[in-house]
Symmetry: C2
Subunit: 445 residues, 2 copies
């Protein structure tokens, strides 16, 4: 367990709640403004948060008319946010399914250098058929194949990030040597899907390489997290479930030969912060009432693998296909199925429940109540910190930073100022030392 | 012919001269600092220049130890520069050879939105075997194949940029409609190399789509420029050669059904600016003397397709292979060959001549002499403007902006302030109107 919490802010449009942009507390035009996202990063930095994060899709798909997220590509946007901030970590989602490892490793390395070592990569395999159709695939590659490709992709990307030793750039004007060629290495990867010689054409950053983040919760996803992830975003509904997931992923990390502290588990939380619990619930209800049922039904249909169009909202879910038939997000499917059966929810209940958190846990209450809730999870060993998903922005983030963070700080649970300069540092990790780096002292000296 | 000049600043490390980073007028550590590139953009904007531009390679290749350019990926870096400026255009080189059209179109569209319609794309096919090896190719794809792929790539990218009509984003909170799905179109491209459904997941920018830039001067390159390019960077050594090239590309544009003013021809120029012509020549010589002959010989070998290692510097070039055997940059090969034979240059002469401009024209003199030179080319119909390649940075750019630009302005040859907000606007082009956009008035009304 970490000695202090880690906090990431999930920045989604004008809020994580799917109807956020219709609520008077937001200005929907902000989703088109880079300056708005720079301001969000500054607010998160004011709160000394570890990082901010963007999800991503490589399509608009069926969501065009309701989807406020379709505006910027994450790495370009984070680059603009990097130069408006000094400490906050910057995590981009990017797909192993539809990129070349050299290009993506390079863009992330470039963001990492622009930000002075504050970049992170949320690794996704891309589960949408809409995405596949933008890259020449008539059908979505199968779940196991996607993870095999992801594994090889990350092997190549991490090798490329290691290809420049930390002291490779020498800038010796007298001899005319810019970089020491003995400290810049080819990677010579020849694999099932990729053949990449290297080296990368970006020197390594202050943190050695970007932080690796992951969010899959299927068996393959958890294995992948155990092997690679340094932070895991996850949807957990209760402390016992959170504890099981926490122990599971940490055990997989240990089985992969890593220290269990090298992977931080960050369940999602959607906080409705108000001056009383009742006011928090009222605020949540205001947002729920703005959900478009027809759009939400389509979203729910995608999650459970059944077309729910025409089903009455007061009926329970029909029988769902078995897990092995689900080609998309398997963990989200399981979560919705369990939620519906355990709490006997109707389709309408599910839409309300999922609208704010999309499967993540919603908590409504006073700043003290929110802080109590986070502390309970943390001390129960169900979380190393949290992926904070403000239901509306910027207000939901501002309230968290100005009202909840000070309570966590007063309780000794969260940093009162940054003590590190890199994203890896914020998450309690040392700079990554690449595979080619020399032992500086002791050996051979 | 344009009524006024267009000026682009070519930003390369700490200067276009290959030994720039060794000269006391530069600080080589700047190539690692995003803030330095933001400052260069602000200097160019102070001079009211149309745009700044980065070249690019997808490898380090044989250039590791001497190459100061290996630091950032252009689009991420330009995004950081976009938010530090308000008017200057931002042109990124990116390859059609080793990207997916959806990803590249999206990153450029994102830069275009972040900058408020100031992005441009310098389209390259990638000619290096080192680059091919980073993307699974044992050999470089042939010249014709690269241009066929480039053509289809640009077809797809431009279709994706058209996929959002300008007024597709409606943000209607009352009805819950974010974007009008009737104004967001699939592109359904099915071609030889790419199958892409679309639509893009970034709405169109204030200029409709990024400016298209190109620099190839082979026959296929000029055809491509005639069909697609809105600005052409080119290496021309004399006014008659420049006039020929100018007429040639404009004619190809007209043959492709375009207006000849829709493509601006911008020859490169490397200005050594000083208080006298003699002082300019001395300054140039200072840089020449810092060239590493062994590195320069390797660069020259690549240009001419012959390994020159071991050849004496005072000897002429050996017989060169015929043009059709050159798989790399055909126009650069031709330029070097012509230069050597016309001016009876030795290998050593060629290294000195190419060190500053890499084939582009070097001019040394007073600000008046530089301005006179530019005016002569412009009035002779050999140029619509110039790709200004400061041999050292930031000083070479600062001097151009503060000493040459005011002369051009006083002569009525260059804008005294920005009159447009987009990059297309700076180059005298209207906002691009996509293929799906409705006729706003007059028809059917």
């Amino acid at each position: 367990m970490s000695s202090q919490l880690h906090l990431n802010a999930f920045l989604m449009g004008v809020g994580h709640h799917e109807a956020a942009w219709r609520h008077p507390r937001t200005d929907a035009r902000n989703v088109l403004r880079a300056g708005y996202f720079q301001e969000l990063a500054r607010i998160a930095e004011r709160g000394k948060l570890d990082s901010v994060f963007f999800a991503d899709l490589l399509s608009v798909g069926s969501r065009i008319e309701r989807n406020t997220q379709t505006t910027f590509e994450p790495i370009t946007l984070l680059s603009a946010m990097a130069v408006a901030t000094e400490h906050i970590g910057l995590i981009a989602t990017a797909s192993t399914g539809y990129n070349e490892p050299y290009n993506l490793a390079r863009s992330l390395a470039s963001l990492d250098r622009i930000s002075g070592g504050r970049a992170g990569w949320n690794i996704v395999t891309s589960v949408g058929a809409d995405e596949a159709a933008n890259f020449g695939y008539a059908e979505l590659p199968d779940h196991a194949g996607r993870y095999r490709r992801a594994g090889e992709f990350v092997e190549v990307a991490t090798a490329l990030w290691d290809s420049w030793e930390p002291d490779a750039v020498v800038l010796d004007a007298a001899t005319g040597i810019f970089a020491d060629p003995d400290k810049v290495h080819t990677v010579d990867h020849v694999g099932e899907r990729f053949t990449v010689r290297g080296p990368l054409n970006v020197p390594s950053s202050a943190q050695g390489r970007p932080l690796l983040v992951q969010a899959g919760s299927s068996e393959s996803g958890k294995d992948f997290a155990g092997r690679w992830a340094e932070a895991v975003f996850t949807a957990q509904r209760s402390i016992p479930e959170g504890q099981d997931f926490y122990r599971d992923v940490k055990a997989r990390a240990v089985a992969a030969g890593r220290d269990q502290d090298e992977v931080k588990i960050l369940p999602g939380i959607v906080p409705f912060i108000a001056e009383s619990e009742a006011a928090g619930r009222r605020l949540e209800r205001e947002f729920t009432e703005l959900i478009s049922p027809e759009y939400a039904l389509r979203q729910l249909s995608q999650m459970v693998g059944v077309d729910l169009t025409g089903y009455p909202l007061d009926a329970p879910l029909p029988p769902l296909p078995p897990l092995e038939k689900i080609q998309g997000n398997k963990s989200r499917y399981q979560l919705v199925k369990d939620l519906a059966s355990r709490e006997s929810l109707t389709i309408g209940d599910l839409i309300a429940e999922l609208g704010g958190g999309r499967g993540h846990r919603t908590v409504a209450g006073t700043p003290e109540q929110i802080a109590d809730d986070l502390q309970r999870w943390f001390e129960a060993g169900a979380a190393d910190g949290f992926n904070v998903m403000p239901p509306y922005l910027p207000g939901g983030l501002t309230d968290f930073v100005d009202q909840v963070v000070p309570i966590l700080q007063a309780r000794g649970l969260f940093r009162t100022d940054y003590t590190e300069t890199t994203l890896r540092g914020h998450y309690g990790l040392r700079p990554h030392i690449g595979r080619y780096a020399r032992v500086v002292a002791g050996v051979g000296g």
